[in-house]
């Protein structure tokens, strides 16, 4: 893989003597949609927190576009969580314009006059893309779960992040709404050439949306000291148009009981 957007080199994450991730080495290609699956406790979320910058690796390096990743969240990495991703005190349009406000006004954190008008214009277009034009002045509490996630996606995309990180983004939604969201994110991915990392526990979703699936699990298991072995990406499937069916070993992974913590 020449010129990956994100590289992990021999990354370990340890809490005290508990090893969560061990020896993770990965390259993520520009423009790919990587789904991350694995049983509970296999370090999927820790992996995502590393990339977001919520925590730093105990050992190893993470490179974004060839430069070491800053160990705190920044605008080059957009994120959508399962819940609480939008600001409850701002209307939909202000939620999306928030990033523009921050970029354009260091001290007031809010644009005024002509520049605000331009920002609202841009935010309005982004809302239209995710199908929320009719709710621009609604507060998040007045929106359904699916609409809140649409808003969170619009909010995350307005600064054009280098990577978009999705942490179980559709996990709390009804099945029908989830299908709509799949179509939305797939369309945005293709249209904008985004690089997406999505953690999900829904294996069908992982194989439907991704063009590469990483499965995290423990390579080794010590029944007497389960915490001494960490997880890493044990399966790595590049997907083309044809092989969209999850293989048996992956389905078994999802069905297995969570590893004893």
């Amino acid at each position: 893989m020449s010129d990956p957007i994100l590289s992990l080199r021999d990354v370990w994450v340890e809490y005290g003597d508990k090893i969560v991730l061990e020896k993770v080495s990965l390259d993520i290609a520009r423009g790919s949609f990587v789904s991350i699956v694995g049983p509970s406790g296999a370090g999927k979320s820790t992996f995502l927190r590393l990339i977001i910058g919520q925590e730093a690796p105990t050992r190893g390096h993470i490179l974004l576009d060839g430069a070491p990743l800053t160990p705190e969240p920044g605008p080059e990495r957009g994120v959508v969580f399962q819940r609480y991703s939008v600001f409850p005190h701002l209307t939909a349009i202000d939620n999306v314009a928030f990033a523009l406000d921050c970029a354009g006004s260091m001290f007031l954190g809010r644009l005024y006059g002509r520049r605000r008008k331009a920002a609202l214009e841009e935010a309005g277009q982004m809302l239209e893309k995710v199908g929320l034009s009719d709710s621009r002045d609604a507060y998040p509490a007045q929106l359904s779960g699916g609409m809140q996630q649409r808003l969170a996606i619009a909010q995350a995309l307005i600064r054009r992040p280098r990577i978009l990180l999705l942490d179980e983004p559709f996990g709390a939604l009804d099945p029908g709404i989830r299908l709509d969201m799949h179509a939305l994110i797939d369309g945005l991915w293709r249209e904008h050439g985004l690089t997406i990392l999505m953690v999900t526990h829904d294996i069908k979703e992982a194989f439907k949306l991704g063009d590469r699936v990483l499965a995290f699990d423990k390579r080794r298991h010590d029944p007497h000291a389960p915490h001494r072995f960490g997880s890493s990406a044990v399966y790595d499937f590049p997907l083309t148009g044809k092989n969209r069916r999850p293989p048996a070993e992956i389905l078994a992974l999802g069905a297995r009981e969570p590893a004893a913590a």
Binding site: Q54, V79, R83, D101, G109, A141, Q142
Partner: protein, 273 residues
């Protein structure tokens, strides 16, 4: 037969049930007052409505020839000024301290224990210190109110701010927000309705500290007046004053609730947490 836990009164039923105890108390008072007056027409302990109305006219509708002011108006203005200053100082410092304590782990580690230690001191116990240090004037009374309610409000607001979900904090950073912008655009607006809630809870204690300070050293004020006329067993003045104080307190509470609904509708929206 339905279970008692499932029987819910309707709207008119609730009004009737709510009013009944109030009317019963009023009725019991009238009966007791009439009984005492039938034995002793000059009884002062349970004044009749007529006695209280006469005292009210004297206190609230006529000028005191000595001071040249209407006593109730002078008392109310003096008390509300002290209360307003004390609450204002407490609220202002709560906003700043509560925000930085809730938002910045480094400040929480530094000042958290100090605030916690101050919060356990009973404010009234500090009143003599305030009188000694600040004299018997307005400053000590205002300070008592501020010191009395601020520690609770600061701790309440700090915990509310630190309870803002981590997802929101991370999201704001991925949208390019600096610490200052997070404080200004994220924490401050979300703190405001919580601050108003804390303030509403603190109004009761604020009145307690005001009346305590006025009872001990003052020459005007609602608390001063009721403690002054106590010497003459003037229940006909005290009871209307207590009712007036309660009315003021209720009006302040209702106003704060209205401000919160009017300016922070998102905090009251359906399904909001």
């Amino acid at each position: 037969m339905r279970r008692l836990v499932n029987i819910r009164p309707g709207r008119s039923g609730r009004i009737f049930l709510g009013a009944a105890p109030l009317l019963l108390v009023a009725l019991a008072y009238l009966v007791a007052s009439a009984a005492r007056h039938s034995v002793n027409p000059t009884d002062k302990i349970l004044p009749s409505p007529g006695d209280m109305w006469a005292a009210w006219q004297r206190m609230a509708m006529s000028v005191d020839p000595v001071t040249g002011a209407v006593p109730l108006i002078a008392d109310t203005l003096a008390s509300l000024t002290r209360l307003g200053l004390g609450i204002g100082i407490a609220t202002g410092s709560t906003l700043v301290l509560g925000l930085v304590l809730g938002l910045l782990p480094i400040v929480r580690a530094t000042l958290g224990p100090l605030v916690a230690a101050i919060a356990v001191i009973p404010p009234i116990a500090v009143l003599p210190v305030l009188f000694i240090v600040m004299g018997l004037g307005e400053t000590a009374k205002v300070a008592l109110i501020a010191i009395g309610i601020a520690p609770f409000m600061v701790r309440d607001l700090a915990s509310q701010v630190s309870a803002i979900p981590e997802e929101q904090m991370v999201k704001a950073q991925t949208l390019g927000a600096s610490t200052w912008q997070i404080a200004l655009r994220l924490a401050l607006p979300q703190a405001m309705p919580k601050l108003l809630k804390g303030l509403r809870l603190s109004l009761g204690p604020a009145w307690v500290f005001l009346i305590a300070a006025e009872a001990i050293a003052s020459d005007v004020g609602l608390g001063y007046r009721i403690f002054l006329v106590r010497r003459y067993l003037a229940m006909d003045v005290i009871l209307p004053y207590v009712a007036w104080i309660s009315l003021l307190a209720v009006m302040m509470d209702v106003t704060l609730a209205w401000i919160s609904r009017r300016f922070f509708p998102w905090d009251h929206a359906k399904g909001a947490e």
